[in-house]
Symmetry: C2
Subunit: 400 residues, 2 copies
C-alpha cells in the first residue's frame, strides 16, 4: 500500500463528464489499496472568468480581494469532484487549502507555503477517505485567504506529497508525458520514460508548459518522485526523479519560449555597480531575468541586453529608464524574439553538442541573436517567426 | 454616529452595474459618519447555477459537499463588492462567514447559528473599514463550512446586528417596503411606514416573500430594528419593530400563499394519541404544519386535514401512510389550494373583522375550504385559481 498524491488541472475537470473521468482515475488508484490525496485546480476557464468579473469592477483591484475572489474557483471543483467520487461509492471528503493546513506568507497573488499542518489530512486518511484538496490556495497568519499564483496547484501537490511523505506525486495534464519536443508541432518526437529534476527544471524554465517550475524545485528539494501523465489517455507517463536511467541520451529535448522580450540598455556609463543596480532593482520587483549579454559600447559606455517574460517588459523598461535615462542611456524592448533551447544532463560529457545545434540552425537559414549556456542547456535567441522551424531543425539533428 | 448593518440580496448584486449601485448606497451611509457592516448574498442565479452543476454529477450529493459548493457563491460577491467600494476610495474588507465569526451547528444545508465571535469584525470596524460579510454561511465545530439554508442571508444580517448591537438592520430588496398586498397584483395598495415583529412574522409565514421568517424571529428576540427597503429606489422603507405607530389601522395587509398542499387523513381510528403520533412524526422530519382541521368521521373514526408547504406533500403522505394505512385510513394530498390571510394586531380589539373578510369573499363568489385564526391573523383556504381574485376582493374591503 502506497500513499499517492494526484494533481488534476483545470482542463481535466472542465465539465461534468471530465469530473467523472477524473473520479474514475482516482478510485482506480484507491481500489488498488493506495491512500489517495488529490489536488485539483479550478474548472476550465473559471479563473479567467473570475478575473474578468473583477476587471468589470476595478482596473486595479486589491490583491487580497483578488485572492478572496479566485479561491472560490477551487472550492467549486473540489466539491464537485468529491460528489462524483461519492457517486461511485467511495468514502471521500473535500478540503479547502486552509482546511488541509496550508499556511502561507502574506504575498497575496503569489504566496509562499510556510508549512502544511497535516493533522486534519491524516485524520481523514486514517478513516480511509479519499481526500480532495483545493490547489493554489492557503491561509496567512491574519486568517486571510492567499493564492500561490498561476500554476500554484502543481506546487500545492508537491508540497503535500513532501509533507505527507507520499510515495509518488502524479501530475495529470493534457499530454501523456514529457517529449523531446512539442509533439503537436514537431515530427518524430519521443516520450521520455524518465528525466532528472534539473532537466525538468530547465524544460520548465525554457518554455515547456508541462510543469510549473516552483513545483519541480520543491520536488527536487524534498526528493518527491513526480510522474507527468495524461488524464485522458491511460498510459505510463514520464517520471521525474534525482537520477534518470537514460544516461546515454545526449539531450532530452528541444524547447522554445516565445513569450519573452529582449530588453536593451545602450550607452550605459561603464562604472562599477551599474549592473548590480540594474538587476537588484529588477529583482526587487520580482522580474526574473534570463539570458544576459554585456558588450562594450562607444566612448567608455557599455550595453547590456537581457531577456525576461514578455509580460514584464514594460515594467522593466520603466524601471531602467528611472535609473539610466538621466545618464543618457537608451532603454528599449523587443518582443519579436523567441528562445530555442536544448536540454540534457548528457551534454556535459559530450563535446560537439553546441556545434551540432548551431549547424542545424545555420542549415535552416536561421540567424542567432544571443547565446546562453548552462551545464545542461544551450539556448539561442532568434526571430520569433523562425522559432517553430528552428525547433524542428534542431530536433531533427539530434533525434533524426 | 450609528452602526448600521445592511443586507443585499442576490438580485441587488447580479452584475457589475448593480454591484456599483450597491457600493454607492453603502458609501453614502458611511459618508454620513456611520459604521457600516454589509451582508451580501451570492450574485443573481449563482446559487441555482451551482446547484445545477451538482445535479449534473449526482442526484443526491452529500449535504456537506453541497455546502462546500454553495458557499463559493458569496465568496465571489463579497470580493467584487469590496473591490467596487475600494474603487470609490473607501477603506473596505471582505470576510467569509467563518472569518466574521459565524459558528453554527452541523446541520449542513440548514445550520443554526450558535455564536458570532465578533473580535475580527470589531478590529476591522475600529480601523474604520466598511466590512463586507458573506451571508448564508458559517463554520461548524469540525472546521467545515455550513450554510443556513435558503434566505439565510437575512438571518446572517440580523444575527450580526444583534451581536454587534447595531442601531439598525436594513434589508435591501427589490420592493420599496411592505405593502398592504402585493402591488404587482392588487390595486390601491399602500406601503406601511411601520409594522410589528409579530405582524411581519405572520406576513412571512403567510406567503409574503419580503423577509425570511427566521430572521424576523431573531430580530424580535434580540430587539433588532429592521428596515425593509429597495436597493434601486432610494426612499424610506418599512420599519419593523416591537411597537408600530399605526395602532389605529385595523389590519396591515392581505397576503396569499399558493405554494401549499392540503393533506387529508380520512377514516383514522378515534383513539387517544393518534393526532400526537401524526404530528410528532411530521415534526421529526421537519415538516411544518399550518392550518389543522379535525372532524368526526363515520363509524367511530375521525378525519384530520392540515396544510404544509407543497414541497413536503409527498413526504408527508408517505409518513402518514406508514402510520395509518394499516388501520384502513386513506391519506391524500391536494395542491390545488391556496391560503389567503389578513394580518394586523389591530383586529384583536375590533369585532367584525372576520365577517368583513368572509363577506368580501362571498360577494366575489369564492368558496371557503378551511378557516384558521390567530390573535392577529385570519386565514382561509380556497381554490388556487381564485387566490388573486380573493386577495383583491379582501384588500378592497379593508383598504378601499
Amino acid at each position: 500500500m502506497a500513499l499517492i498524491v494526484q494533481k488534476f488541472g483545470g482542463s481535466s475537470v472542465a465539465d461534468a463528464a471530465r469530473v467523472r473521468n477524473v473520479a474514475g482515475i482516482i478510485t482506480d488508484t484507491y481500489k488498488k489499496g493506495n491512500n489517495v490525496v488529490v489536488v485539483v485546480s479550478a474548472q476550465g476557464d473559471t479563473t479567467d472568468d473570475l478575473i474578468e468579473k473583477a476587471r468589470e469592477i476595478s482596473a486595479n483591484p486589491s490583491k487580497r480581494e483578488m485572492d478572496m475572489l479566485l479561491t472560490s474557483g477551487e472550492q467549486i471543483s473540489i466539491s464537485l469532484l468529491a460528489m462524483a467520487i461519492a457517486e461511485l461509492g467511495y468514502p471521500v471528503i473535500s478540503l479547502l487549502g486552509w482546511q488541509a493546513g496550508f499556511n502561507t506568507n502574506s504575498s497575496y497573488g503569489s504566496a509562499r507555503i510556510r508549512e502544511i499542518k497535516t493533522e486534519r489530512l491524516e485524520k481523514e486518511l486514517d478513516q480511509k477517505k479519499i481526500v480532495i484538496v483545493a490547489g493554489f490556495q492557503g491561509l496567512n497568519k491574519y486568517d486571510d485567504l492567499t493564492t500561490l499564483g498561476r500554476g500554484g496547484s502543481d506546487t500545492s501537490a508537491v508540497a503535500l506529497a513532501a509533507a505527507l511523505h507520499a510515495d509518488r506525486c502524479q501530475i495529470f495534464t493534457d499530454v501523456t508525458g514529457v517529449f523531446t519536443a512539442d509533439p503537436r508541432k514537431v515530427e518524430n518526437t519521443q516520450k521520455l520514460a524518465d528525466i532528472t529534476y534539473d532537466e525538468m527544471l530547465e524544460f520548465a524554465t525554457l518554455g515547456a508548459q508541462v510543469l510549473n517550475n516552483r513545483s519541480v524545485e520543491m520536488a527536487k528539494k524534498y526528493n518527491v518522485e513526480l510522474e507527468v501523465l495524461s488524464s485522458l489517455v491511460r498510459e505510463p507517463g514520464t517520471i521525474v526523479r534525482e537520477v534518470a536511467k537514460m544516461e546515454k541520451m545526449l539531450i532530452r529535448g528541444v524547447t522554445k519560449d516565445s513569450d519573452i522580450a529582449r530588453i536593451s540598455v545602450v550607452g550605459m556609463k561603464d562604472i562599477p555597480g551599474n549592473a548590480f543596480k540594474m538587476f537588484s532593482r529588477l529583482a526587487q520587483k520580482n522580474i526574473n531575468i534570463d539570458v544576459i549579454l554585456q558588450s562594450v559600447g562607444r566612448d567608455g559606455t557599455k550595453d547590456i541586453s537581457f531577456t525576461c517574460a514578455a509580460g514584464y517588459a514594460d515594467e522593466a523598461v520603466e524601471i531602467l529608464n528611472d535609473i539610466f535615462a538621466m545618464e543618457g542611456a537608451v532603454v528599449s524592448s523587443d518582443t519579436s524574439v523567441a528562445k530555442v533551447s536544448i536540454v540534457g544532463a548528457g551534454m556535459q560529457s559530450h563535446s560537439g553538442t553546441a556545434s551540432k545545434m548551431f549547424g542545424a540552425l545555420y542549415e535552416a537559414g536561421i540567424n542567432i541573436g544571443m547565446i546562453s549556456t548552462s551545464e545542461i542547456t544551450i539556448s539561442v535567441l532568434i526571430d520569433k517567426e523562425s522559432a517553430d522551424k528552428a525547433v524542428s531543425a534542431v530536433h531533427k539533428a539530434f533525434f533524426g
